[in-house]
């Protein structure tokens, strides 16, 4: 299916990367211009995995055709990719496919303790696009017949069995294994179910015997070898392999795309995690970078340092079909509190269920827009609050980070960039000093994939400002009274054309517009306030202007909304206008 030439290329190689999301497919072309890799062009087309197309290749072919039209470069001929690149500048050397549009891996978690083995299993599961459709544990009151009936009813893709510390002698896990074995056997013929065992190492052989030869059993290292240790990598890798085999390789039309590429398809969230870790490696030692994607079908969180990237994918949350799950975690009133309008609970619920039925639609009225942004806030809060170990927190604030990378349709459809910043400040309630960038062009996963193959291409492309720099945020933390001075700010543009000096008061949200180019910002917090350096300790930072500017969020942590309804709405409206409306 590929138009090929035999002459190997001798020049820098070009890359065409397709990212197939649930709503849109984006293709991006990277090549060398004036000695440096650049993003040559990008285009999008609707993703075509669903009916009436049921063939993801159509959307990719359409997006490539549009890209070819826009760039004037012949990339596709008779629906076949032109590869490798030709001397006449047509074609491309490499094609990489990234995907988040595959259906989630429906999984039943089986473990002993909710607080130990099941919690770790859930964290491992959240490293792929997966849905936890049921959970069997010691707290489960169902008998064996009912649990087997549940397996038959759910027809899961995977049953993830874990529990016990290594060397323990708990036979309850073996009993669960018998239940699983029976359920899987009874589904034979109707559905093949994979089983992953990542529990007590001492029971491995017994589990293998119980499962027999027919059940496809994968064995990984115990996720909790002892109560103090958690090791997820092995289990996460195996779940990833199962996901690729059962979900990505089964995507309709993928055989066409596979023929274009020598590389295995990469889940979008993993590619995103790679680039977030790359950004972390660029930060001062030990600094953390946070990546956040709010898409139609999932919310993805990446917390990375130079050495490690913690990935959490919540396929049960998202702005499309999964949106109604939000009501399991948040009350309608908790969502409505983020809007300046008076909205009753029924309106919130109607809106959410409607959005689930029409996941691709966009708000057309101000009130819908505000409600949708309120929902985004609660989605993020839910995702963050539910992942305490990843984020090493007990309260709903992530560990301090140096940079925040945002992507996803939820942010890209916000009319003003100030609304993007306001949304994440309310939702994450971060602290300290950090920069924010938005991936409006949808390049980050592509660069994540590219960084593994051609690191220089990723580095040089990022230098060409493919991300939207939103600016910097400073969040002083401390107790104060409304109107009390929190922070002294002085700003001097690099060309020394403009200077500003002023105080920020407690309870306010201030935006300082910065001149183009870089500015020197000096921050001097009051004695009882901390901007991440210790109480009263200030700093000087050199920052780029950013599209929003320098935001000082002195509203306090955690954010306190007035109980009085009129005062609350007034305050939300004030914050809305503070951020540019």
């Amino acid at each position: 299916m590929t138009e090929r030439e035999t002459t190997p290329p001798t020049r820098p190689e070009s890359y065409l990367i397709a990212e197939c999301g649930n709503t849109y497919t984006t293709v991006l072309l990277f090549d060398v211009v004036d000695g440096c890799y650049r993003l040559i062009g990008r285009s999008t087309a609707p993703t075509t995995i669903i009916t009436p197309w049921s063939n993801l290749a159509e959307g990719i072919q359409e997006a490539i055709t549009r890209l070819a039209d826009a760039t004037g470069r012949r990339l596709i001929s008779n629906k076949k990719l032109v590869t490798p690149a030709r001397d006449d500048s047509s074609g491309v050397d490499h094609f990489i496919f990234i995907v988040s549009a595959a259906a989630p891996l429906n999984t039943i978690l089986v473990g002993l303790s909710e607080d130990v083995s099941l919690t770790s299993a859930r964290r491992a599961l959240h490293t792929v696009y997966a849905n936890e459709v049921d959970t069997f544990g010691l707290a489960d009151s169902r008998n064996e017949e009912e649990q087997v009936a549940a397996i038959i009813a759910h027809k899961p893709d995977l049953i993830f069995l874990t529990g016990g510390t290594d060397g323990g002698a708990d036979q309850r896990l073996a009993n669960f294994a018998r239940t699983v074995s029976l359920g899987v056997n009874m589904l034979m013929g109707a559905k093949q179910v994979s089983v992953l065992y990542a529990g007590n190492i001492k029971l491995r052989e017994q589990i293998k015997q119980i499962m027999g030869e027919i059940v496809p059993l994968h064995v990984a290292a115990n996720v909790r070898p002892n109560l103090q240790t958690e090791q997820l990598d092995d289990a996460a890798q195996m779940i990833g392999e199962v996901y690729e085999k059962l979900k990505i390789r089964e995507l309709p039309g993928i055989h066409i795309i596979r023929e274009w590429s020598q590389y295995a398809p990469l889940p979008t969230a993993r590619a995103f995690a790679s680039i977030v870790q790359y950004f972390a490696a660029m930060q001062p030692s030990g600094a953390r970078v946070l990546g956040l994607e709010v898409g139609t079908e999932s919310v993805v969180l990446v917390s990375a340092t130079a050495d490690q990237a913690d990935l959490t994918i919540r396929s049960d949350l998202g702005m499309g079909r999964p949106i109604s799950n939000l009501l399991k975690h948040s009350k309608a009133s908790a969502i409505a509190r983020w809007t300046a309008e008076q909205i009753d609970d029924e309106t919130v619920r109607d809106y959410i269920y409607n959005k689930a039925l029409h996941p691709q639609t966009m708000a057309m009225s101000e009130s819908d827009l505000h409600l949708e942004q309120a929902i985004v806030r609660e989605l993020i809060r839910t995702a963050v609050c539910d992942t305490p170990l990843d984020w090493q927190i007990a309260d709903p604030s992530p560990a301090p980070f140096r940079m925040l990378l945002l992507r996803g349709l939820a942010f890209n459809t916000m009319p003003r960039l100030g609304q993007v910043v306001a949304t994440v400040l309310d939702a994450l309630q971060p602290t300290g000093i950090f920069g924010i960038a938005l991936d409006e062009l949808g390049v980050l996963p592509a660069l994540g994939a590219l960084s593994a193959l051609e690191p220089m291409a990723a580095v040089q492309t990022l230098e060409s400002k493919v991300l939207t720099d939103l600016g910097w945020v400073v969040v002083p933390v401390g107790r104060g009274q409304s109107g009390q001075k929190v922070l002294h700010v002085s700003i001097e543009s690099e060309d020394q054309q403009t200077q500003y000096e002023g105080d920020v008061e407690f309870g306010t949200l201030e935006v300082f517009f910065l001149n183009k180019g870089r500015s020197k910002v000096t921050l001097k917090p009051e004695r009882r306030f901390d901007i991440g350096l210790g109480p009263g300790k200030g700093t000087t930072i050199h920052v780029s202007s950013g599209r929003v500017g320098l935001v000082v969020d002195a509203r306090g942590r955690p954010l306190q909304l007035p109980q009085d309804e009129i005062a609350r709405r007034s305050l939300i409206r004030q914050w809305y206008f503070d951020m540019g409306g």
């Binding site: 995995i49 669903i50 197309w53 009874m186 109707a190 039925l357 029409h358 057309m364 827009l369 009319p415």
Partner: protein, 343 residues
């Protein structure tokens, strides 16, 4: 929404079984086209635990073979003893599935009969699985279904496209597919079921009803959404024009792959029909469309201009979209994502 079309639809068994009609045969809505034994529940007899023997010994004493139908009281295990025999009798009836770690597993079944639900002609039979039907009719896609199927005569119980259905409007609906604009009370659904309705087509259900509607057991298709917006005028008019016709509800829940529930109103094939248009219809100027989002939700209009490039919406977002002329003559820009085409 497509009228007087020649449609092809698969009717498939949930489990392999017997197809009882042949290609070329005309079928009626109530006609059984395939049937199968469908597993309902299974039972576990913990034999090794009851006899205090190892799982291997259970196999040694087993008196039934896999796939055998077992009646209550039939001997499952038998062991010779010094003084006669020791037996384990079946406490249940079912089909013996097999031994699993010393436990005897029994599967219980029920007959499942697949009906045509539409007046149609069988054009293909897939052995053991089902058939393909050719139907002449009108198709309306819904946005949500309750997961059930139903068939009946179409009966309007809505006088306007936004009126909530009231309890005292529900009479003489036995065997009927009822059309309502809005249902805002779960009792209304229960009452419809008590009165023997075969299904419900509704413009919108409010959230409190929507979340529980699937548990009622009634085939329900929502045509527009959740809330009080009711039914799009064009759908309402079409259904009203077909009052008294045979209608089938394939009220599947929307799935990951974009399959939607559908309403098929059967027509007389003698009246002629056009072939089903291609599956995907890119929007064109002159096309009728329904708007999916407030403040224009459920309004029907006509595309008068298509934009090739991104364009700003009234709220300031950028989107691909079209200018749509509404019934009152006003023209608005609507993102394609917010449009449903009417073919």
């Amino acid at each position: 929404m497509k009228s007087q079309l020649r449609l092809r639809r698969e009717r498939m068994l949930p489990e392999p079984g017997d197809v009882v009609v042949s290609p070329g045969q005309e079928v009626s809505p109530v006609q059984v086209v395939a049937r199968t034994h469908r597993p309902t529940r299974f039972r576990i007899v913990p034999a090794s635990e009851l006899w205090h023997i190892s799982p291997d010994e259970v196999v040694e004493y087993l008196q039934v073979s896999e796939g055998t139908a077992v009646q209550q009281g039939d001997v499952l295990l038998q062991k010779k003893q010094l003084l006669g025999k020791k037996t384990l009798e079946s406490p249940i009836e079912g089909t013996f599935f097999g031994v699993n770690h010393g436990r005897l597993i029994f599967q219980q079944y029920e007959w499942f009969e697949l009906r045509a639900l539409v007046n149609a002609r069988v054009v293909n039979a897939i052995p053991k699985r089902g058939i393909v039907l050719e139907i002449v009719g009108t198709q309306i896609q819904g946005v949500w279904g309750s997961g059930k199927e139903g068939y009946g005569r179409l009966k309007m119980r809505a006088t306007a496209e936004t009126n909530p259905l009231l309890k005292d409007e529900i009479s003489d609906v036995e065997g009927a597919i009822v059309v309502a604009a809005v249902v805002n009370n779960l009792d209304i659904l229960r009452h419809l079921q008590q009165e023997g309705a075969s299904g419900l087509i509704v413009g919108s259900l409010t959230a409190n009803v929507h979340t529980k509607a699937a548990s009622i057991g009634l085939p329900i298709i929502i045509t527009d959404g959740v809330g009080t917006q009711g039914m799009a005028r064009s759908v309402f008019d079409l259904l009203r024009d077909h009052e008294g016709h045979d209608v089938a509800l394939f009220a599947r829940k929307p799935d990951y792959w974009g399959n939607r529930p559908e309403i098929i109103i059967s027509h007389d094939a003698a009246g002629g029909a056009s072939d089903t248009p291609g599956a995907y219809h890119p929007p064109v100027v002159g096309q009728r469309v329904r708007i999916l989002r407030a403040p224009y939700q459920s309004q029907v209009g006509e595309i008068i201009h298509l934009y090739q490039h991104l364009r700003g919406t009234e709220l300031g977002m950028k989107a691909h979209g079209a200018d749509v002329k509404l019934a009152d003559g006003s023209v608005i820009f609507v993102p394609y994502a917010n449009l449903d085409t009417i073919v």
